[in-house]
Symmetry: C2
């Protein structure tokens, strides 16, 4: 029961579909001045479900994307479209230094054991 609905505070990663959906739903909901309870009521979904979708924790199915889109008065595809300015999430990289270190370790590990001279 928050006093005032507050919008998303940062852009989603453009390649994270759950985050994009969560962002767009929250943005549209807050633009209407709706609480999650109100959106739940308008879309015929449970309040906890709406909350889970807005927290990107739910692998929502198409029929419910449609319900939310209809309640918010937009075409469903717009809910999956990354907002302007959103960028792909940076890839997790192994830092070069530790990679080099790891390579060295690997190289040491792979160092061939001198074959015993055949007797």
């Amino acid at each position: 029961m928050s006093a005032k609905p507050s919008g998303p505070t940062r852009l989603p990663a453009s390649d994270n579909l759950r985050d994009v959906l969560a962002y767009q739903i929250r943005l549209l909901r807050v633009e209407k001045g709706w609480s999650q309870e109100r959106l739940a009521l308008e879309s015929g979904l449970d309040r906890t479900y709406v909350s889970a979708v807005e927290r990107s924790t739910w692998n929502i199915a198409l029929a419910n994307i449609e319900r939310l889109a209809n309640a918010l008065g937009v075409a469903a595809w717009t809910l999956l479209q990354p907002p302007a300015g959103a960028k792909p999430a940076p890839r997790a990289r192994t830092p070069r230094s530790s990679l080099t270190s790891a390579s060295k370790t690997l190289a040491r590990a792979k160092k061939p054991v001198s074959p015993k001279p055949s007797s």
Copy 2:
């Protein structure tokens, strides 16, 4: 095991999200010359699942929309966007004659009962 992949033969209803998705997936798949088996392989889904999605019989979840979009090399939202020229499905209407009849019945039912004169 069809010899040649064939594209969708008619436009989907623009307000039927499953049909739009089925249409776009089939269109892109056939443009690539891929069979359903190939798309299943590329997206890590089952062939029968891909078939069900293309027949609009599946309430597909977001993660699998994403898999199909990635396999087809497009942004997920484009799979939900109705193609140019698609129109909403015609609404089933109550025939005007029976509506009029129903209105008359309603009007009769609503006819105010004369208030009793206060004594």
